[in-house]
């Protein structure tokens, strides 16, 4: 029996080695050319593009959504009065022009001759219906309503003119009209078919119409032949497939089952680059990551300690080594795409000596232990935190890493101030205006700001909201960013870069900064 036990073990080891050799072999060959002949496996698909996404937004109704994946698909189906281009410029959409009549009235001249996918005409009534619905009982049940509370109501002037009356000046209103809750929906269709039907069968004015929706599986968009932009879209069909696991998404791309892969992981970048028929595209996003301090806890209430930690960490090394260079340094909690970003501020330099001096000055004892909370499902950030822990150890601070359920962290621990001395803070800021970030991060008592407060910060935050004069707001933001840089309520780590992998048969695809894919100009070889 004893002998047999040994035999089993040895055989098992041999088998394991064998399996390991098999798997090693397959990934090695995978690195080279993906198909043995070097032929593009998707070359005979026709005038169609297939895109792999990681999740299904579950609901297409614009007033119900809050997900980036919604905007990836819905940008092709729905349109707003204003359009935001891939280069983030605001330009006319369903409105040909607009004008502030006074501080609280905005007038839009609407585009004529536009029809919804179901044949319904687009006009002032559709605009009024959309905003009545968003601001009314239906909309208040969803997460979009709060974005548009500055609008009091929409008034129909004539068939192609509307006036938007505002409760209060809203400097970011126009960019908010370019997406999400403010896209225009067809009144008759929604009223006749009901919300549940609309949820699953969206109808808009966009370049493509949705012809099939299989929840959690795939969505099919077909060309809108009556689209108002001359000669667009160029593709006949776009299919989105929901493939949650990134290695499976990559496998589908390598075998030509999909043409564009969203959310490529840093570890997969090399495989994509080495393929003959794939191309890697990277694009900076508005999403930023920091380690936010809980300023109510000792010793984080001392600004010198907060600054010391900023000096102690080599952020450039983290971006280069852990993120493979796919990340950008930031000086405040916003990306360089954001209105209000201060180009004159440079991130805290890596200076451990200065950090030590500041800590000594603040009277922090060598070997002090700090608690950090991070979400357990973010492997990259776990590595980053380990690197941070190493850097802090160099200046005499021990970091105790608590890896917890991400949802609990965001929705429970952070709002209650139970997330240790510091925690991972990630933020998107889709309006690309620092107001969206700064107000919610530093205004006293906001959901995700349980403890930080500063009177001067409050004053500046209120001042920039009281005006629509962008130059004045920019000046306020420059002052605010300089102040927050000094106060250091967080260690700003990096701006996220999104990776897309694209089959070379696809042409004119420009990856979006903020997940909103534009497909009307895309063509195939």
């Amino acid at each position: 029996m004893k002998l047999r036990g040994w035999k089993t073990l040895i055989l098992l080891m041999v088998l394991t080695l064998f399996l390991a050799a098999c798997s090693g072999g397959s990934s090695e060959t995978g690195k080279g050319s993906d198909s043995p002949t070097g032929k593009n496996p998707a070359s005979d698909r026709g005038n169609e593009v297939v895109i792999g996404l990681s999740s299904d937004p579950q609901s297409w109704d614009p007033i119900d959504t809050f997900l980036l994946d919604w905007s990836t698909v819905a940008t092709s189906v729905f349109e707003g009065l204003v359009e935001r281009s891939l280069d983030l410029e605001l330009q006319p959409g369903l409105a040909e022009s607009w004008e502030y009549l006074d501080d609280s009235t905005l007038e839009f001249k609407l585009r004529q001759g536009v029809v919804f996918h179901n044949g319904e005409p687009f006009n002032a009534d559709a605009v009024k219906f959309t905003f009545d619905r968003l601001l009314g009982e239906e909309g208040q049940k969803g997460p979009q309503y709060s974005n548009y509370k500055s609008i009091k109501e929409v008034e129909v002037v004539d068939e192609f003119t509307v006036k938007m009356h505002l409760q209060s000046p809203d400097p970011v209103l126009l960019t908010k009209l370019a997406g999400y809750g403010a896209v225009i929906v067809p009144p008759k269709y929604v009223q006749e078919k009901g919300d549940d039907h609309f949820n699953n069968n969206p109808v808009g004015t966009g370049p493509f119409k949705m012809t099939e929706y299989k929840r959690d599986q795939q969505f099919v968009l077909e060309k809108n032949a009556d689209y108002w932009k001359e000669g667009l879209p160029k593709l006949d069909k776009v299919t989105f497939k929901v493939i949650p696991e990134s290695s499976t998404r990559l496998a589908e791309l390598q075998t030509g089952k999909i043409d564009i892969m969203k959310r490529v992981e840093v570890a997969q970048a090399a495989t994509v680059k080495q393929s003959d028929f794939l191309e890697l595209k990277d694009v900076g996003t508005p999403t930023v990551f920091s380690l936010r301090f809980d300023t109510a806890q000792e010793p984080m209430d001392d600004v010198r300690v907060r600054q010391a930690i900023n000096y102690a960490i080599d952020k450039d090394a983290i971006i280069k080594e852990i993120l493979g260079g796919f990340g950008k340094p930031i000086s405040t909690f916003q990306s360089d795409l954001s209105f209000g970003n201060n180009p004159d501020l440079k991130p805290y330099p890596y200076d451990p000596e200065k950090a030590k001096a500041l800590l000594a000055e603040a009277g922090v004892a060598e070997g002090t232990t700090l608690e950090v909370f991070i979400p357990g499902n973010d492997g990259n950030f776990k590595e980053i935190t380990q690197a941070v822990s190493f850097y802090l150890e160099e200046v005499g601070i021990k970091l105790n890493i608590n890896s917890v359920d991400g949802t609990t962290l965001i929705s429970d621990l952070i709002p209650k101030g139970d997330a240790g001395h510091m925690y991972r803070n990630g933020w998107g800021g889709w309006t690309l205006d620092y107001d969206n970030t700064a107000y919610l991060m530093y205004h006293e008592g906001e959901q995700w700001n349980p403890t930080f407060k500063d009177e001067k910060v409050e004053e500046l935050l209120a001042a920039q909201r009281a005006t629509v004069d962008q130059e004045e707001r920019e000046a306020i933001f420059m002052e605010l960013t300089t102040l927050l840089y000094e106060l250091a309520p967080e260690v700003n780590l990096y701006q996220a870069v999104d990776l897309y992998a694209v089959n070379k048969r696809v042409e004119n695809f420009q990856p979006p900064h903020e997940d909103r894919m534009r497909l009307e100009e895309v063509t195939v070889k």
Binding site: K7, T8, L12, L15, C22, S23, S26, T29, G30, S55, Q58, S59, D61, D64, F66, L67, L68, Q140, K141, P143, Y145, S146, N147, K149, Y180, D195, N199, N200, K214, R215, D216, Q217, Q218, K241, V242, I243, P244, E245, S247, T248, A251, E252, Q254, T255, K257, D405, G406, T407, I410, S411, D412, P415, G428, W430, T431, N436, L440, G445, E446, Q447
Partner: protein, 310 residues
């Protein structure tokens, strides 16, 4: 028999009630669905309070539970916070994919485990037995996540024989079924082997052999049929848990199953979907158990439902 079935069904109601209590209160222990819903946008604290009240989450827990229970009685699980769709619809949309995968996994497991287990038992102590047991050990030890990705690399990327994701045709079912079946077959093969060994040592087997019936006929007709009982119990229980417990395989192969629905709902703290999904699985589990018990009397006529299986 009928009285037994009725008693078991009443039993089910009790089980569902207890589970409804546990699930209702436990999902509310951590996390807040409203904060999660605002992952993009401008959630001021007023907006959050407003949405919470619109979803009925500001009512006292006892009242919320009452509403939930009232819905259960009419088989109305409520609407998803996230998609606004009725939870019943969400579950039934995925039911077919889930059952197909569970059956596929069990089919593969049977296909592998029965021959391996029977051969191991019959050729006990020989090289065949040795390999059989090694095989089942490996089956048990495989992380199914890794196995799934390996199968994709070999059969989808390299050989390009089979699709790697989606739920479209019978071909799409092959790789996920093998992944699931491999893991299951390890345990099943061991079970078949040990039950077979037990039966093969019985006197009636020797008697049958001495009557001159061919060896394989004895093994299958007399041995295997009697060894089937624990195996069926095991498979029945497995089928129940496979309906909700194949999340990892569903994730790797983009399979639209109930497991993924519930896991996504947990991450979003989508209370109605979590509650509805768990209650649904509990009901299935109890019903499958009942069916397994009833099937005993088919396999072994000596067992009478109501007495034998108590």
């Amino acid at each position: 028999m009928l009285a037994y079935v009725i008693r078991r069904l009443l039993h089910t109601i009790l089980v569902v009630f207890v589970i409804s209590l546990i699930i209702f209160f436990s999902v509310r222990l951590t996390g807040d669905p409203v904060s999660v819903m605002f992952s993009a946008g401008e959630p001021s604290k007023e907006a959050i309070a407003e949405l919470r009240s619109n979803l009925g989450l500001d009512k006292p827990l006892a009242i919320q539970y009452g509403i939930f229970l009232k819905g259960l009685l009419t088989l109305d699980f409520g609407e998803s916070f996230r998609s606004g769709m009725p939870v019943g619809t969400l579950i039934f949309e995925r039911l077919w994919a889930t059952i197909a995968l569970a059956l596929g996994g069990i089919f593969v497991a049977i296909l592998i485990a029965f021959p391996v287990g029977i051969l191991s038992a019959v050729k006990r102590g020989t090289g065949v037995d040795f390999f059989g047991r090694i095989f089942s050990l490996i089956g048990i030890s495989f992380p199914n996540f890794w196995l799934g990705i390996m199968l994709i690399l070999v059969f989808s990327v390299q050989l390009q024989w089979l699709p790697s994701s989606g739920f479209e045709s019978i071909k799409h079912l092959i790789l996920p079924s093998i992944t699931l079946g491999m893991i299951l077959s390890g345990i099943l093969a061991r079970l078949v082997r040990s039950s077979m060994l037990e039966v093969l040592n019985q006197q009636y087997i020797s008697t049958a052999k001495s009557k001159g019936i061919s060896e394989w006929s004895v093994i299958i007709k007399h041995g295997f049929r009697n060894a089937l009982l624990p195996t069926v119990t095991f498979l029945g229980m497995q089928f129940g848990s496979l309906l909700g417990g194949t999340v990892i395989v569903e994730q790797v192969f983009s399979w639209p199953g109930i497991g993924r629905l519930i896991i996504d709902a947990i991450n979003q703290r989508d209370y109605p979907v979590i509650q509805g999904g768990v209650i649904f699985l509990a009901i299935i589990m109890v019903v499958v158990n009942l069916l397994v018990d009833l099937s005993y009397s088919l396999i072994d006529p000596r067992i009478k439902a109501g007495r034998g299986s108590q």
